[in-house]
Symmetry: none
Subunit: 204 residues, 4 copies
DNA sequence: AGATAAGCGAGACGGTACGTCACGTCTTCAC
DNA sequence: GTGAAGACGTGACGTACCGTCTCGCTTATCT
């Protein structure tokens, strides 16, 4: 079902941004991304589908990448930092809900396109860098809690720990390998916690 | 210095691929990538710079992505799997030489573009997936050696271990954060080996 | 003198056809035809010379042939049907002014190209057919006037009479033989009027 | 049925022109013209269909136009100059057999393309001019015979008379109007013979 | 209340790149 | 040396989008 192509003609509501137009544009953009992918995501296509003028789009989003990022931000849900009381389950909860989220919503696909766009568009690159840093900083809280509990060593770098796990997830997203055998993520997380030498990492 | 725009006119050398043209095209493509980036990387631009015809390019490379991948393959150096006798130094050698390589050559930039292209082009996606799987499989040998030595636990998953590290590197590459403080990679690798709980990971 | 390459940048004047662009394109097309001929007449060349975008040309002229016909229509002058009171002088006036017009303007050359194009392009063929039928119908008025005056027989077919003369002119145009000795056209017309048997056709 | 694409590989028969290749090329060219028309008539297409190398074609025919003319010459039949004893029936025989010939064989279509090609190719133009002059000169013999018989006036220009009729035929060929009502050609010829003033031209 | 200002849709504009086709030339290799 | 084969550089084809523009309009806000 499409909400973008509302037949009623939208027009100016005075010297201010028309929320109906904004919504129509974001809807159209999201629909195109989920139906056709990034290849069909052009300003022309969005304007056509949203029954919007191209200048209206360029007025509010300076570039294709800006619109893409905005679509991403409207779609994404803020994932709460897990706090189960144990570092293993916290990390597992984080990474498995990330996989599940990317797999089951369109957000994973959009995020791929944002990453791709960031490789050639400086503004997107900057936005992505900031977003990623923030997100890692938030999630690293999980590690700091564990350190505060005395659960893990104090000299562990919380950000690096999260980034290791997040990087793994990015790699899987970008190569289309989000499907994993059950228990695989679990083993990976326990391996991270216990280290490679600890024989206890694989059995329970 | 440009090698692509050799003034001598290249022509057919019979019913066979002209290596001079192939070289000129790959050179031109690599130059454009390093000078302008992926945004300026068009078949038209490559043909212009290489003094080659567009049909010549399309004859041998079916798409922009195929040419991009070929440029990447011609540029990259085959990194030997390190074998220092200790898992920490092997892993560190692997990841730090990867960072250094990406940082100091144009290959990192090209690889970014390949990853970006793979997000919208199915053929590139498939090629990237295969490449990554192979590369991880090769490097995982390092982990298997350590297991054979009895250095690390037998139930450690070699591929996952490498993928964890490689994913971290991808994340850094894709967000333009290849510069790292000295010792940071070292600490990360020791943390992986010893686990989060082991207080020995941060000091030496 | 070239009018096509006006340096001032033309741009959109709203959601409507820009007459300046149209004029520049038609000028450029006519110039190319008269300077280089049909061989150099490409949409690319016209766009280049007119400083216009190719899509602008294709927006208004669906094909090379359509543009060609439009150039022809803009160049040609509407020849009034002669009415001197005598059939001989009327016919002579018609055919000699046709020869003169084709010889002294670029229109003859353009018309040759239109005819050539019509042999392989259906749209041009249809347009040419319609144009020729109309033009013959108009000029045939000359014959009908003579019939009304009782100057010539009532059972003469006006259209066929004009078509006979026009076909002769086409043949000369298409074989580059528009130059004729003085009096030759005159003799031809009198021969048509008086018939082959009448000895009076050749002397005066 | 195609004769052009003979599967047996033709090869050199020494330092001389291979007649099998020549025939295959002419066949292929004629087939393409009759099946697709001039638009699909390219050296590439002919070479493909004839299983011939492009250089083989260029070796023997310097241009597309030359090949076209050669095809035409191989296809056309030499029409004998009619001699029925009366100028009306001679002229009618000439023009009606011309119409019939163009209508019922592929030669009319090929001739259209030759005329079209002659508008942009100088060599074809020259060849066409010579051919037309010769052909008209031959056919004018018909008029000279009538003059020798005392059938028509001595000051009638034989070539112009034929050219008038031939030009009419060209016009019909080039505008795709070879179909005529019965009796129409007959009336036209009688009108030419008797002149416009003679009321006897239309009835018999 | 009327003027002003800005947003709206629409779509044309000059461009650039796309991927394909044909051009006419060239070289190789089999015969 | 002729033949098929096919690659070569060139350049036109017709299409899609780019980002900018002007248009005619609608409506809120400010005199």
């Amino acid at each position: 079902m499409t909400l973008a192509g509302i037949s009623a003609r939208r027009t100016s509501i005075g010297a201010q941004r028309n929320p109906a137009s904004e919504a129509a544009i974001l809807n159209a953009a999201a629909e195109i991304l989920s139906e056709v992918g990034i290849a069909g995501f052009s300003i022309d296509a969005v304007a056509r589908r949203a029954h919007a003028g191209k200048p209206t789009i360029y007025r509010w989003w300076p570039s294709r990448a800006a619109l893409l990022l905005d679509v991403y931000h409207h779609q994404k849900r803020v994932e709460p930092v897990p706090d189960t009381g144990a570092i293993e389950t916290d990390l597992l909860s984080f990474v498995s809900s990330l996989f599940e989220y990317w797999r089951d919503s369109h957000v994973g696909a959009i995020f791929r396109f944002v990453i791709a766009e960031a490789q050639s568009d400086a503004a997107t690159a900057e936005a992505l860098k900031i977003y990623m840093t923030e997100r890692i900083g938030q999630t690293a809280e999980l590690v700091r809690h564990a350190q505060a509990r005395g659960d893990i060593a104090a000299n562990v770098d919380p950000e690096m720990t999260i980034e290791l796990l997040a990087g793994f997830a990015w790699g899987r997203l970008l190569t289309g390998r989000l499907e994993m055998e059950p228990g695989q993520l679990d083993r990976l997380v326990r391996q991270m916690c216990n280290g490679l030498r600890d024989g206890a990492c694989g059995d329970r």
